[in-house]
C-alpha cells in the first residue's frame, strides 16, 4: 500500500514535468469519456422523460391508431404519423364505448396546429381535441375553470382550454376565463386553463397548447370527419390483453373487414409502446458505446505512444534505479502506475467536462440532463483498463532494459 502510494506520487511527479504533453495525451481519453458521459446524461434523461410521459398519459391505456403498422412498416406515410390517415372515425370510438365490456371509457383524439389570437397578440399552438371522456382516460388536469362537458361536445361548442404558455403570451397577468379569443379567425370562449407541464426532453413546450371539443375541431377548424387516435382505458391491468382483442373485433366489424383480410388500424397498449422505445434505447446505447470504444482506443494508443517515448527518455533513470536495487517488477509497476494514472486522470477530467457540459445544457437550453452514477463508474473502469492495457507493453520494455546499457544511454 505504501509502495503503491509512493508509485502514484512518482507518477504524478513525472507527469507534472511535461504538463502540456501529459494533457495532450489525456485529451483522447478526456474527449472520449466526456462525450459518452455527456450524451448518456442527455439520453438517459430523454428516455426517462419519454417513459414518464407515456406513463403519465394515464394507466391501462390502449392506443388505437389508423393504418396497419405491422403491414406498412417502412412506409414513409405510416412513419410520418397518423395525422393524415382517415381510417378512424368518431363512430368507431362510440362503437367501442357502447359494445366493449372491458373498457371503462374511450377518448377520440385529434391533434392539429392553429393560430390563436387575442386583441392584437397571436401565437401558433398545438391543438388537442377530444371529448369530455379525455379527463377520465388520460391525465388532463385543469388549473382553473372547467373542462368541456358532453353538451359542449354534442353541440360543437366554441370553447377552449388554454395551456400556461398561451395564457402568459396572450393575457399576461389577466384572468383569461370568460374572454373571447380567435382560433384561426373564429371566436372561442376560454373556459379553463391547464396545469403547467413544462418542456419535453427535446425542448418542445408542452404548455403551448389549447384544447377544444373534438367535434368543434372537425366541423369548425379543420373540416374533416376522422380522428387521429382513439385512446381506450381498460377496466383493469389484467384485462388489457382481452380488451385489446375485444376492440380489434369491434373495429373489424365496424370497418367490415372479413376474416383473413388485414386490419386498417393498429391496437397497441402502453407496454408495447414502451417495448418499442426500449429497442430505440438499445440502439442508442450501442451507438454511444461504439463511439466510446473508438475514442478510448485512440486515446489508449496515444498513451502507449507517449509511454514508449517516456521510457526512452528515462532510460538512464531506469538504469540508475536498477543499479541501486530496483527489480524488473519495480520498474514495471512504476511505469504501469504512470500510464494508469494518466488514463484515470483523463477519465476524471472527462467526467468533470461532461458534468459541466450537461449542467450548461440544462441551464441554457430546454434540454433536461441527468448525470447518473452508471456512466461515470463505467467511464472510470474503462479508462483504468485502457491505461493498464496500453501501458503494459511500454512498462515491460522499461522493465526488461539491461542496467548496464541503460546507465550508458545518453
Amino acid at each position: 500500500m505504501k509502495r503503491l502510494l509512493e508509485n502514484i506520487k512518482i507518477a504524478f511527479q513525472s507527469l507534472n514535468i511535461n504538463k502540456l504533453r501529459s494533457f495532450l495525451t489525456m485529451l483522447g481519453i478526456i474527449i472520449g469519456v466526456g462525450a459518452v458521459v455527456a450524451m448518456m446524461s442527455v439520453g438517459v434523461s430523454a428516455q426517462q422523460t419519454v417513459v414518464q410521459s407515456i406513463q403519465n398519459i394515464g394507466s391501462n391505456l390502449i392506443i388505437i391508431s389508423p393504418g396497419n403498422i405491422e403491414e406498412e412498416r417502412g412506409d414513409i406515410g405510416a412513419v410520418i404519423g397518423t395525422v393524415v390517415r382517415d381510417e378512424l372515425k368518431m363512430e368507431d370510438a362510440e362503437a367501442i364505448k357502447r359494445e366493449s365490456t372491458l373498457i371503462e371509457d374511450v377518448a377520440p383524439v385529434i391533434v392539429g396546429s392553429s393560430v390563436v389570437s387575442y386583441m392584437n397578440k397571436n401565437i401558433q399552438v398545438s391543438v388537442y381535441a377530444s371529448t369530455d371522456s379525455a379527463e377520465k382516460v388520460y391525465n388532463f388536469e385543469i388549473a382553473e375553470g372547467r373542462f368541456y362537458n358532453s353538451s359542449d361536445v354534442a353541440n360543437s361548442a366554441n370553447v377552449a382550454i388554454l395551456g400556461q404558455t398561451v395564457v402568459k403570451k396572450l393575457f399576461g397577468r389577466m384572468d383569461p376565463i370568460g374572454k373571447t379569443i380567435k382560433i384561426d379567425g373564429k371566436n372561442f370562449v376560454v373556459i379553463g386553463t391547464n396545469k403547467p407541464m413544462g418542456a419535453t426532453q427535446f425542448g418542445v413546450d408542452q404548455d403551448k397548447i389549447i384544447s377544444v371539443p373534438v367535434t368543434t375541431a372537425q366541423n369548425k377548424l379543420y373540416g374533416f370527419n376522422y380522428v387521429n387516435l382513439i385512446l381506450a382505458k381498460a377496466k383493469s391491468e389484467d384485462a388489457m390483453d382481452e380488451a385489446s382483442r375485444e376492440i380489434t373485433k369491434i373495429l373489424q366489424r365496424q370497418h367490415k373487414i372479413r376474416p383473413g383480410e388485414p386490419n386498417d388500424f393498429t391496437v397497441q397498449n402502453q407496454t408495447q409502446i414502451l417495448d418499442t422505445l426500449s429497442i430505440i434505447t438499445t440502439v442508442f446505447t450501442i451507438t454511444i458505446s461504439s463511439i466510446a470504444g473508438i475514442s478510448l482506443l485512440v486515446g489508449g494508443i496515444g498513451i502507449m505512444n507517449i509511454m514508449l517515448v517516456s521510457v526512452m527518455e528515462r532510460t538512464r533513470e531506469i538504469g540508475i534505479r536498477k543499479a541501486v536495487g530496483a527489480k524488473n517488477k519495480d520498474i514495471l509497476v512504476q511505469f504501469l502506475t504512470e500510464s494508469i494514472v494518466l488514463s484515470i486522470t483523463g477519465g476524471i477530467l472527462g467526467i468533470i467536462f461532461a458534468v459541466a457540459v450537461s449542467l450548461t445544457l440544462s441551464k441554457f437550453t430546454m434540454l433536461q440532463t441527468t448525470v447518473s452514477a452508471m456512466p461515470i463508474i463505467l467511464a472510470l473502469t474503462f479508462s483504468t483498463m485502457v491505461g493498464l492495457f496500453f501501458g503494459i507493453y511500454p512498462a515491460m520494455r522499461a522493465a526488461r532494459l539491461n542496467p548496464i546499457d541503460a546507465l550508458r544511454y545518453e
Binding site: R3, E6, Q13, S14, I17, R316, E317, G319, I320, R321, K322, A323, V324, G325, A326, K327, N328, K329, D330, P403, I404, L407
Partner: protein, 269 residues
C-alpha cells in the same frame, strides 16, 4: 561498521576465481573482455584498478557490482556465489551489498539531495520511515552535505553532486563501495575532496574499490591492480598513500587564486 563485525568474518569480501566474460558481436565475432581474473579484496581495503581503455576494467566493475554475470568462473561476494543468481536476486544484492559511485554522478535530476540519497531505500523493504530518514541524514552528514538536503542536482556543484552520489552509495550500509572514475568529471580540487571523503570512509572501516586511469588518483589507495587485455597484469602496494586532506591544505583555493588575479590586474592598470 563496528569492530566486532569486522573480526567475525576475516575472509575476503570479494573473491573471484578465474572469471571470464565473452561478448558476442554478431554471428561470428566474439570479444573476450575478461580472460580469467582472480582477485581477492579483504574487508577494510582501499584498492584501485587501473588500466587503459579496452583493458576490461568496466566489464570487471560491472561484474563486481552485480550488474552483470561472468561467462565462466566464480564470484563470491561475502561468501555468496553471485555468479549463479538471477536478475531479481542480483537486484537485491546490488541494493544491500553494493554502493555505486559513477563518473557522471547519475543522480535523478528531479529529486532533491535527500530523495536521491533515499532512492535505494525505496527498494529495500525493511526499516521504518523514521529509521530511513535517519539513515539518509547521517549519510549526507558523512559526506559533509548537512543542510543541503533540499537542493536539487542542478543547484549543486560537481563536487557536491558526487558527494550526494557517495551518500546514496552509503545509505544501505553496503559491504563494498564501487567507484567508477569518480573524479573524472571534476576539477582537481573537487576531485581531491572526493578522495578525502573516500579516505575518511576507509579509515572508518569501509571497503572501497576504485577504477581510474589516473595514477595520481590511484596513489591515494593502498593497493593498485593493473589490468591489461582482460587479465591482471600487475599488483602494486602503495607504501605511503597520498593524504588527500594534507594535499588539500597545500592546494591554493580557487577563490584565493581569483583574488590574486584580480590584485594583479589592479596593479597592472
Amino acid at each position: 561498521m563496528d569492530m566486532n563485525k569486522k573480526e567475525e568474518y576475516n575472509s575476503a569480501i570479494i573473491n573471484t576465481i578465474e572469471i571470464t566474460k565473452t561478448y558476442r558481436l554478431g554471428e561470428r565475432e566474439e570479444v573476450r573482455a575478461l580472460k580469467g581474473v582472480s582477485l581477492k579484496i579483504q574487508r577494510g581495503e582501499f584498492v584501485a584498478i587501473m588500466g587503459p581503455s579496452g583493458s576490461g576494467k568496466s566489464t570487471l566493475m560491472n561484474i563486481l557490482g552485480c550488474l552483470d554475470t561472468p561467462t565462466s568462473g566464480k564470484y563470491f561476494l561475502e561468501n555468496i556465489d553471485v555468479s549463479k543468481l538471477n536478475d531479481n536476486q542480483l537486484a537485491e544484492i546490488r541494493n544491500k551489498k553494493v554502493g555505486f559511485v559513477f563518473q557522471t554522478f547519475n543522480l535523478l535530476p528531479r529529486l532533491d539531495a535527500f530523495h536521491n540519497v533515499g532512492l535505494p531505500l525505496i527498494y529495500s523493504r525493511e526499516g521504518s520511515k523514521n529509521d530511513k530518514k535517519e539513515r539518509i541524514l547521517s549519510s549526507l552528514e558523512a559526506v559533509g552535505l548537512k543542510g543541503l538536503e533540499k537542493h536539487r542536482p542542478n543547484e549543486l556543484s560537481g563536487g557536491e553532486r558526487q558527494r550526494v552520489a557517495i551518500a546514496r552509495a552509503l545509505v544501505n550500509d553496503p559491504s563494498i563501495i564501487l567507484a567508477d572514475e569518480p573524479t573524472g568529471n571534476l576539477d582537481s580540487r573537487s576531485g581531491e575532496e572526493i578522495m578525502a571523503i573516500f579516505q575518511k570512509l576507509n579509515r572508518q572501516g569501509r571497503t572501497i574499490l576504485l577504477v581510474t586511469h589516473e595514477l595520481e588518483i590511484a596513489k591515494h589507495t593502498q593497493k593498485i591492480i593493473y589490468l591489461r587485455d582482460g587479465i591482471i597484469h600487475n599488483f602494486e602496494k602503495i607504501k605511503n598513500p597520498i593524504d588527500a586532506e594534507q594535499k588539500l591544505k597545500e592546494m591554493p583555493r580557487l577563490e584565493n587564486k581569483m583574488i590574486e588575479n584580480k590584485i594583479k590586474q589592479a596593479k597592472s592598470v
